[in-house]
């Protein structure tokens, strides 16, 4: 998949998610979803070219063609409106690093559940 492909290249180049998103002016939250295969990759060829450049992929190479093919296949990914309970649960934490160093309130827990369910 496109996300695995890019993530592997990025990590092999020693570029963190943060740095990658800074270089390409990407929203790191969305890009993380693309790498995890829960959001469609970009389809704009210019953007794909910029990504290839950062990853050291030469245009017209076999890797470039693979990148474009995978982006095209990934265009069909439609994020669900609401995540299933199981998927939501997998994303929830057991412990939290909070600013006030206290357990979250029930209201904060509800907000977190809803945020994750909506795939934010």
């Amino acid at each position: 998949m496109f996300g695995d492909f890019i993530k592997e290249k990025r990590i092999n180049k020693g570029i963190t998610l943060r740095e990658f998103c800074r270089l390409l002016e990407l929203d790191a939250s969305n890009w993380s979803k693309i790498e995890r295969g829960v959001m469609s990759p970009p389809q704009d060829e210019e953007k794909l070219k910029q990504i290839a450049k950062v990853l050291g992929i030469r245009l017209k190479s076999a890797e470039w063609e693979e990148l474009k093919d995978k982006a095209s296949i990934g265009a069909g990914i439609i994020p669900p409106d609401i995540l299933s309970d199981k998927k939501t649960l997998n994303c929830l934490p057991m412990f939290f690093r909070t600013i006030r160093s206290e357990k979250p309130t029930p209201e904060e827990l509800d907000k977190l559940i809803n945020k994750i369910k909506r795939g934010e």
């Binding site: 909070t98 827990l109 977190l112």
Partner: protein, 217 residues
Amino acid sequence: MNQGDFKCQWIDKEELWERADKFRSEYWPEQSLPVDIEQIVEFRLKLDIVPMHNLQSDNDMEACLKMDLSGIVVDYDRYMNTKYANRMRFSFAHEIGHFILHKHIYNNYKRQIITPEEWKNFIVDMSDTEYRDFEWQANEFAGRLLVPSDKLGVAIGEAYGALKADKNLIAYLNKDPDAVLSRVSPQLCRIFGVSESVIERRVEREKLWPPKANLSV
């Protein structure tokens, strides 16, 4: 699910420190400072970093380890804004602490909690003291991971060497060591990439301040 079984197992500080040192040796053999915690998370532990908008403003959270242990969720602004870099580094190290020290807890309970509502009740019912114990252990692990004791000793020795040039400061060091520490801690923070509160905590826990006259310079 039996909440009564949810206990934080006591771990002596020496064992916590040893586990943090061992982890650092294994995952950061370069030994350079600051420890590049993001590289460890992404490249070596192969954990996803999952930035989430408004995690801090809506939920008062900076970071948390996902229940399936596949990644660390972080507040988007804290993660992207270099102003919070030191605090974020500590948050990653803290979550690694949970990953290393409390993995068995995640594995035990994720089988028993089936729905988000059950998860919420589990967190709400969790004893505050148990919660604090888990957090304390993760903090202690994180501090020791980012601030290796031997290198802190050397850095303090160097800071003391600079202090010795000023007789007034040496007099203050005897009268009010904390005040003098606050003067030198910014330079220590830069070396280790942590906040002043982390440095102050480490020197207190490791009994490195005030420096002894025989520290290496």
